[in-house]
């Protein structure tokens, strides 16, 4: 069975050692990607004989290529893991009558207003107050009382189109700024608290696997030279509550089969408030810590499911093999961060370290555009957090 893979990320994301996670023969793989920033440099011609390297931002061109792959080459499945490619893939599936997530399903996991509308209509009330908004359409008075607001692109990705502002007047400026990038926006009440994510694998409507982690930094705190990341949460009451919320959300949004990444706030008064959910694996090394802890490869699961092949999962929801976290450090505003030396990493439970050169100069564009990505193991959850803080401090010059 031939598959078209729409790959906006580095193709190395699909590589595991000497193999690739695409479960079809090389001659059945049609890779549509971008050579920008060396994202196709890892390709092996014998593994991917058919390559379409193009401007991946040009949805019409991508669609032309995939249509050709379907009509001329017998492609039956479309794989797309990047948030910005999900709708294109869904539109093509609908148009070409292919199996997989359709537009209606994808929209519920892609449009931040549509997903919250669906949840509210179903009686799910752990949702912040929100309202769709557009440039020139900002009411003079705030729709509900509040001092801090979040303005987001409804189809935004990776915190790129998120602004946290104080005062309703500032909402106007944020809307005007964001509307230049993305016309469809929403304004949301700011929710205080820690943010957690829940990553799951769903097969035929059943959650077959799920992991919960806490974000290392507060929402929207990404900035040049700053740190981010996640720590997998051990068994605890909060984890169980997040798993239940995740189950309810996926059930309401009717996820049939796929890998999901849900984000939720835990407020100081112990409430869980839904933030958003995506029908793709979490980025920024989340897949690496989940694999370390549970031997579940979220990227491989997502690819297999989209190819119509059963994901490789343990027989039951496994216990974690340890305490794992990922720490990401952004490039400084000017210049490239140099690779970390051994002294910074040694003795701190570092299992993996990846240094990435800056692709786009200036401010952090995407919340997972890390200069340094470090996978860390701790003796316990608190030890893990301590180690991650020490590494962060060593890299950023902070106190730890």
């Amino acid at each position: 069975m031939a598959v078209a893979i729409i790959c906006r990320d580095n193709v190395a994301r699909f590589r595991r050692g000497r193999g690739w996670v695409v479960p079809v023969a090389p001659t059945e793989r049609y890779l549509i990607g971008t050579s920008f920033g060396g994202r196709l440099s890892a390709l092996e011609p014998d593994q991917f004989p058919y390559v379409m390297a193009l401007d991946i931002r040009d949805d019409d061109l991508v669609k032309d290529v995939v249509r050709w792959c379907v009509v001329s080459k017998g492609v039956q499945r479309i794989v797309a893991l990047h948030e910005k490619c999900l709708m294109v893939a869904a539109e093509l599936r609908d148009e070409l009558h292919l199996a997989g997530d359709d537009v209606a399903t994808t929209l519920r996991f892609r449009d931040k207003v549509v997903m919250k509308d669906a949840l509210r209509v179903a009686g799910f009330d752990a949702v912040p107050r929100y309202r769709a908004i557009a440039a020139g359409d900002v009411p003079a008075e705030p729709p509900w009382p509040g001092g801090r607001w979040v303005v987001k692109g409804r189809l935004g990705v990776g915190s790129t189109e998120v602004r946290i502002v104080d005062g309703w007047l500032a909402v106007n400026d944020a809307v005007a700024e964001l509307a230049r990038i993305m016309p469809e926006l929403e304004v949301e009440e700011f929710v205080c608290g820690h943010m957690y994510h829940c990553d799951s694998v769903v097969v035929e409507g059943q959650i077959e696997f799920a992991a919960v982690a806490r974000y290392f930094a507060q929402p929207g705190e990404y900035a040049p030279g700053g740190v981010a990341g996640s720590l997998l949460l051990p068994d605890c009451a909060l984890r169980a509550r997040i798993l239940r919320l995740n189950h309810d959300v996926l059930d309401i949004l009717e996820m049939r089969s796929g890998v999901t990444h849900l984000e939720v706030f835990h407020t100081p008064d112990d409430l869980l408030v839904f933030c958003e959910v995506a029908a793709r694996p979490g980025g920024g090394g989340i897949d690496r810590i989940v694999e370390r802890a549970y031997a579940v490869d979220l990227v491989e699961c997502a690819v297999r499911i989209q190819c119509g092949v059963a994901p490789l999962l343990p027989n039951s929801n496994p216990r974690p093999a340890g305490h794992f976290g990922v720490l990401g450090v952004y490039h400084p505003l000017v210049g490239d961060a140099r690779p970390l030396d051994d002294a910074t990493l040694r003795g701190r439970g570092v299992l993996e370290y990846v240094h990435s050169r800056r692709v786009v100069p200036g401010a952090v564009v995407h919340c997972t555009d890390y200069a340094h990505r470090v996978i860390v193991e701790g003796e316990s959850y608190s030890d893990l957090e301590r180690r991650m803080r020490k590494i962060a401090a060593a890299v950023t010059g902070g106190t730890g």
Binding site: S35, S41, P45, V51, M52, D64, V65
Partner: protein, 391 residues
């Protein structure tokens, strides 16, 4: 200006194309190594470029959106694809029928038989006519067998007698023709609306056993003005007869008692560094001109750097490359233009059956072709690459 589509680009052609003032879309055969294009951030598509339906379908479905200004290939196995794509996109280009006529050595022989027998040699496709095949063999006449779609002299061989031909050359994939002794010349031309400009004539030196080209020199060492005029006239005659109206051509001819005969012709510049020899001695950049003509650009002649230039190739015994020597210095009277090994330590060298089996080259320029040719032949006498038994 809209994009230029370049099919089956080599590393060198990709570099030149990337320097044009247009965006370039590369189309390569599926499974070939395109990393040199991908690493440079180019737009690249790979699929089966030998399948006409696939090329036409992809052109109409995908390339048409980009509204390319032209499609071109400078590589033998991309020429037909470029013609199909140009045709599908209704762009200027050599028609597929003309390319096919040149690409298939047997088709060219049949065409010349009907339209210009004066340029032809005796030939046979055993699969088509066994009697032609039998008649081809006469006492005192050597016969050469060539793959119909072959390149780089791969698979070319002498056939001693009609009973001694290996089974494969009796298939539809082979053309047999009388062997014309004597020097062989390559004629580089550029055509515009049916006007064929002779850019340069080079003389080639081939390995007598394998027909693999081992040296080229321009201008030829021993061609009279009358011979040159005859070669030029025959080449123009051929291009008219086959219907090539625009673009580059590389035509190989020999001079016989009965006039000039055509060995083969292609609608692309000559390979083997001939384009470099031509640029050194005429100032005409064949590669750049060939990439630009589909865009409607007509580049002129630059300044010649030398009166003559030659290149020769190193060969090596079959085996794994154990070491690579320093290039020998050029003798006095010539200037070194380039020289590099084509292999690395550890590579496997096959026995010499095609151009791809050569292991390096040198190129020099100078005042006269005889000096240049003897210089490169002398330089390539010393081994460049030492091999040992393959492991």
């Amino acid at each position: 200006m809209n994009a230029l589509v370049v099919i089956q680009a080599s590393r060198n052609i990709a570099r030149i194309a990337a320097g044009l003032e247009v965006s370039v879309i590369f189309v390569q055969r599926a499974g070939t190594d395109t990393r040199f294009l991908l690493e440079s951030g180019h737009e690249v598509y790979t699929f089966d470029t030998s399948d006409e339906r696939e090329v036409r379908g992809f052109s109409s479905s995908v390339l048409s959106r980009r509204q390319p200004a032209g499609v071109v290939s400078l590589s033998e196995d991309g020429l037909l694809a470029a013609a199909w794509a140009s045709h599908a996109l209704m762009l200027a280009g050599t028609p597929p029928a003309v390319v096919a006529r040149l690409r298939d050595k047997a088709a060219m022989r049949f065409w010349l038989e009907d339209h210009a027998p004066r340029l032809n040699v005796r030939f046979a496709v055993p699969e088509v006519s066994r009697s032609d095949y039998v008649r081809l063999f006469k006492p005192g006449r050597a016969v050469v067998a060539k793959p119909r779609f072959g390149t780089g002299s791969k698979g070319v061989r002498l056939v001693e007698d009609k009973f001694g031909a290996p089974a494969e050359v009796l298939s539809d994939a082979y053309l047999l023709e009388e062997f014309i002794p004597g020097a062989e010349f390559s004629v580089e031309t550029f055509s515009w609306s049916g006007q064929h400009e002779i850019i340069a004539i080079t003389e080639k030196v081939v390995d007598p056993a394998t027909f693999v080209e081992i040296a080229h020199v321009t201008p030829p060492t021993n061609l009279s003005a009358g011979d040159i005029a005859m070669v030029a006239a025959a080449t123009r005659d051929l291009l008219d007869v086959v219907g090539l109206e625009s673009g580059p051509a590389h035509t190989e001819v020999k001079i016989t008692d009965r006039g000039v005969v055509v060995i083969e012709s292609h609608n692309r510049p000559g390979g083997d560094g001939i384009a470099d020899l031509v640029e050194i001695t005429t100032g005409f950049d064949l590669r750049s001109a060939s990439l630009r003509w589909p865009l409607g650009e007509h580049i002129g002649w630059g300044n010649a750097r030398a009166s003559a230039a030659a290149t020769a190739f190193f060969t090596a015994a079959p085996g794994r490359v154990a070491s690579i020597m320093k290039l020998p210095p050029p003798p006095s009277g010539v200037r070194m233009e380039s020289g590099v090994p084509h292999v690395r330590v550890g590579d496997v060298v096959s026995s010499l059956t095609s151009s791809a089996d050569r292991v390096g080259h040198v190129m020099v320029s100078g005042r006269d072709p005889v000096t240049c040719l003897s210089a490169v032949l002398h330089m390539t006498e010393s081994p460049l690459v030492m091999t040992e038994e393959p492991v």
